[in-house]
């Protein structure tokens, strides 16, 4: 029963992430939607698969290794994209920008 709940939660979160990429104003806020919703959605869908699948323990452990790798790699990629966009010269629409104070 709980795997259907996890699957539905993952799908809804992925839909809201895709909506956020369209609706937010600039690169950095769009990265918020992409990173968090993709990580949470993919991890919950893989957990639901690991609970649902009818196979030996090692297959389930392999799916758990996949969730660990996604949680490790996804934030790093978003950090690299954000820093690259800042170095390229895209100005964020912000209230306070302490990064520009220290790197004029």
């Amino acid at each position: 029963m709980i795997e259907y709940l996890l699957l539905a939660f993952g799908e809804v979160v992925m839909i809201f992430g895709a909506l956020g990429i369209i609706r937010f104003p600039d690169v950095y806020t769009r990265l918020h939607a992409a990173t968090k919703c993709d990580t949470g959605g993919a991890m919950t869908i893989l957990l639901a698969l690991a609970l649902y699948i009818d196979a030996s323990v090692f297959i389930k452990l392999k799916l758990l290794v996949l969730t660990f790798l996604i949680a490790l790699i996804n934030p790093m990629i978003s950090h690299a994209i954000a820093k690259g966009a800042y170095k390229y010269g895209i100005k964020p629409e912000v209230v306070v920008d302490m990064y520009a104070w220290d790197n004029p």
């Binding site: 909506l19 919703c37 209230v95 302490m98 990064y99």
Partner: protein, 201 residues
């Protein structure tokens, strides 16, 4: 100690901690402990990936991972805090620290997903880039802290800078609540930093 004025006391405690760090605890773990910890990680990964528990496979995997661990002993275990016996460390990590971290991060991740959905619907954003200070110094600790900050609700790490022996993080915050750096640091980091300080420098 009681004659020292109170405004010097904090600074003195900081200096004492620093001396302790540089004289005793900053040394790396002993060589055999580093090799054993790396070997345990690599061997469990071998068992999960090959999915085969026959005796030949276990012997081949044990020998191969032991050779790799003796070469690569500095890559994983360089920044682990020098405290306690080896078995004590493993038991504390498996029974106490890892479940604590998993439970904290699971609830934070669900909360952040719901918060992004709320932001998408109502569009109530007020973004800003803050600079916060951390007490961690090692590379592994700062990396794990930055990744955890990215997954907690409403924040995204931009860059790290090290100046004068202190580490600063630049964080893009989707709804700026305070402009005070220390209050913002407490709100952003939460209890993850306390957890990481038990294991890494």
């Amino acid at each position: 100690m009681s004659r020292i004025p109170f405004y010097l006391k904090e600074r003195l405690e900081e200096v004492q901690k620093r001396v302790l760090y540089e004289s005793y605890e900053a040394q790396k773990l002993p060589v055999w402990e580093r090799i054993t910890l790396t070997w345990i990680v690599l061997f469990s990964f071998w068992i999960v990936i090959t999915a085969n528990t026959s005796l030949d496979n276990l012997i081949i995997g044990g020998i191969a991972t032991l050779i790799i661990a003796s070469f690569m002993r500095d890559m994983l275990m360089e920044d682990v805090r020098h405290k306690g016996h080896l078995i004590e460390k493993i038991i504390y990590f498996l029974l106490l620290y890892a479940p604590q971290y998993l439970i904290i991060m699971a609830f934070r991740l669900i909360e952040s997903n719901i918060k992004v959905a709320k932001n998408v619907i109502f569009m109530d954003i007020k973004p800003g880039i803050m600079k916060i200070r951390t007490d961690l110094h090692s590379d592994t600790g700062v990396t794990i802290l930055a990744n955890s900050i990215t997954l907690t609700p409403g924040t995204l790490t931009l860059d790290v800078s090290k100046k004068l022996g202190e580490t600063y993080l630049y964080v893009h915050w989707i709804y700026v609540e305070t402009l005070n750096r220390e209050k913002a640091g407490e709100k952003i980091k939460g209890d993850i930093e306390e957890w990481l300080k038990k294991i890494f420098w």
